[in-house]
Symmetry: C2
Subunit: 191 residues, 2 copies
DNA sequence: TGATATATTGAACATCGTTTGATTTCAAGG
DNA sequence: CCTTGAAATCAAACGATGTTCAATATATCA
């Protein structure tokens, strides 16, 4: 209940509009009851974000990523762009949420993004030999981090007018493909 | 005065430990006086971050980036890594600071990062022909965004154990260099 | 039914950014 | 030197936030 209410509020007013009292009112309870289920509001938000990430990954899983890596990457990036444009507030919550200093994220969060990165790993598999697992994982994480950076800058209003989110993502994908297609030095981290 | 006090507090306790009352106490004034100088605390933080970015850029300017682009990029990334490791709290403030929804960043902020991106543009200049200004700028922004993403994930505790910040940054630079060195398709955006 | 555990409440607390009216400071003019 | 008006500064308050906790209601079960 609380998570559904939180999702509804985030979709309407964004993460900054999400408040414990707001969630409580939405589900017809008072704030105290929330703390019987969640330790604090950050844990609740993290749970919501995990569900969002899982949802994106499940959409990725339905994609057909059997052909070559370049096309797979393009498909993935298009799916990502599409989702973030359809549910901007929801994805912004994933991007924006920060824990108070000293807190460690739940294992479930790392599992969730780990699976999402796993999708990328699968997509770029044909760029690597069978024994290059480490560098394949590193590249997938690099792509994820770069995508995250572009999106974070965009949602934070930190991109100037000329640089658009789409052109940056496109460039990221094409640059990576270019690096991998004619590529002799595959990876240092595996040797 | 207020900015120096804010910088000191950020260095000691991080951005989340920065408070209007804390700044006021540090400079021996009361909160009200701060609002005679700044419209709000976000503007103050943005000012502080602008100074930080300008400082990094001035360090970059002292670098010798005359040789080839690959080495220049490596030098720049090492400088970046060095600075963020020496002043983690200060750089985290740049990464973490978000404005309330609806607010637009000051022009001075865009100027500041624009100049920093300009350093990157200069570093990668030898990868481009004279008329490829647009794609050169796009690439510089992409590198900045990717670097931002890696750092943001790291400082937010969103990287799993195996992926280290350094290895990701290294990989980013080397991947980009690889894409540009043996590269027939320079850019679509210029043609 | 009565006792025990669980759920829920409502009010309070601490902290935050921000506002505002009173008060002090201070330099310029008579 | 005194007055006056503007600017700087203060102290207190406001509203919103996340969180806590004793009191109350509800449910469970012997």
């Amino acid at each position: 209940m609380a998570l559904d209410a939180a999702r509804k509020i985030v979709l309407e007013k964004g993460l900054s509009g999400l408040t414990t009292r707001g969630i409580a009112k939405e589900i017809g309870y008072t704030v105290g009851s929330l703390y019987q289920v969640f330790d604090n509001v950050d844990q609740l938000i993290e749970q919501l974000n995990i569900e969002t990430i899982d949802h994106v990954r499940s959409m990725c899983d339905q994609l057909d990523l059997d052909d070559d890596a370049a096309d797979s990457l393009r498909k993935l990036s298009h799916l990502y762009i599409h989702f973030t444009q359809e549910n901007p507030q929801l994805w912004d919550a994933v991007i924006d949420h920060k824990l108070p200093t000293g807190y460690r994220r739940q294992d479930a969060y790392f599992d969730s993004v780990g699976k999402l990165v796993g999708v990328v790993e699968k997509a770029i598999a044909s760029f690597f030999k069978a024994d290059e697992l480490a560098s394949r994982n590193l590249d997938a994480n690099l792509l994820w981090a770069s995508l995250y950076g572009i999106t974070a800058l965009a949602t934070a209003g930190r991109l100037a007018r000329h640089e658009t989110t789409l052109s940056l993502i496109d460039r990221l994908i094409e640059t990576y493909i270019a690096a991998k297609t004619h590529d002799e030095l595959t990876s240092k981290s595996d040797r």
